[in-house]
Amino acid sequence: MKNHSEQVLRHIPGLRRYARALLANPDAAEDLVQETLARALGKLRLWRPGSNMRAWLFTVMHNQFVNDARRYQNRPDRMAEYCGETVSGHASSETLAHLNDIEAALQQLPEAQREVLLLVTLEGLSYTETATVLRIKKGTVMSRLHRAREHLRKVLLEPPATNVKPIRRLQ
């Protein structure tokens, strides 16, 4: 048990980074980390030594995230507070106003795509690990990753179309 707890401690920074990127609200992110740790500690004796502790902790966090999101779905007001999204799944412009552009772009992604993108690109999980954590097929990981990247690319890297079009029309 002692070694296992120490292992949990080692992974806290990564869990915190992931939670912060997943949720627009830093307090909600901290609560998610905290709940995840509490759950993981409660279930530590169920963890199989030799298996991937990091992936297991992200699995616990994913389950907690899904539970929380479900709980907030009946309360649109709380949902927006929780992850910057309205019930329709799209972030409201009001919620996004105070976010940095990369945070805002992330919040525009559906949760399922956001999770895949962050596990792969920020936390460096393999496609197979990501599929296991989220309990989805590897093919689904790939398609969500593709859509998420293309969205961010469009929003963050392409020059806004409005700056170009009026000039063309003048010609």
């Binding site: 945070e103 920020l122 690319r153």
Partner: protein, 252 residues
């Protein structure tokens, strides 16, 4: 795999270093003659760098370090950030585990059968009862305290948890595994209930806060001078820690 054709999936796998060495070289060669795909790869990498630049500083945050050192295990303060509390819990847990002897293991077993299990069960039975969740309601608080104290042969008061956002509903006495137990029930503004279960424990141990998840319930429990306490609820562990703290402060 065809070196002349690189799929969209392979482009991602290339960016994420998930291709084998041979295919990696082939994809690199292919990219040299396919400008659009090369730009796509560059963009994906740029996005990845931006994500890391923006979120990596979080890795260096140590919410646990600002904790005053003089605070003992029971000094968990509800004003502390939740992660600090968890770190502290973990730290105390580590110490506990490393010093564990046969006696301690016995205490652990006793705490589970005589405290955690009956507390969780009593919570499930009574907190969901729409009509008679408690035997003596909060308006007769004085009688409740008096009755419980008398039957438990110790001075017991239902703690005031208003500061943690919980209103007392009332309480009851219960037969536990081999002793009497008291259950106080509270409700938050959302109507979610929480119970505090208190009983004598035949093990002299001043244990640190322990945590357990059982059937969707969060349970914080500890033993102090032969008395066991369990705080049980579905609320986030953060809130339960605050309650456990308040209860422990009042009980000492």
């Amino acid at each position: 795999m065809n070196p002349e054709h690189v799929s969209s999936e392979e482009l991602h796998a290339y960016v994420d270093n998930q291709l084998d060495a041979q295919r990696r070289i082939e994809v690199e060669a292919w990219l040299a003659t396919h400008g659009d795909a090369a730009r796509q790869v560059d963009d994906y990498r740029a996005l990845q760098q931006r994500l890391h630049r923006h979120f990596d500083p979080v890795l260096a945050e140590h919410p646990g370090t600002s904790l005053p050192k003089s605070r003992a295990v029971f000094g968990l303060n509800h004003l502390l950030r939740p992660a600090m509390a968890i770190l502290l819990m973990l730290a105390s847990g580590l110490l506990g585990w490393s010093l564990k002897s046969a006696d301690d293991k016995n205490v652990e077993a006793v705490a589970y059968t005589d405290l955690v299990q009956p507390a969780a069960f009593a919570h499930q039975v009574y907190s969901s009862d729409p009509n008679y969740p408690v035997e003596i309601p909060a308006i007769r608080r004085a009688s409740l305290n008096q009755w419980v104290s008398k039957r438990m042969h110790t001075d017991l008061q239902a703690p005031d948890l208003a500061a943690s956002g919980f209103r007392l509903i009332g309480g009851r006495l219960l037969p536990s595994t081999n002793r009497m137990a008291a259950q106080f029930m509270y409700e938050d503004t959302q109507g979610e209930r929480l119970t505090i279960y208190i009983r004598r424990i035949a093990a002299d141990s001043n244990s640190s806060f322990e945590y357990m998840d059982q059937d969707n319930l969060h349970i914080f429990y500890w033993i102090n001078n032969f008395v066991g306490y369990a705080v049980v609820g579905v609320q986030p562990a953060t809130r339960l820690i605050a309650v456990a703290n308040a209860v422990n402060r009042l009980a000492r």
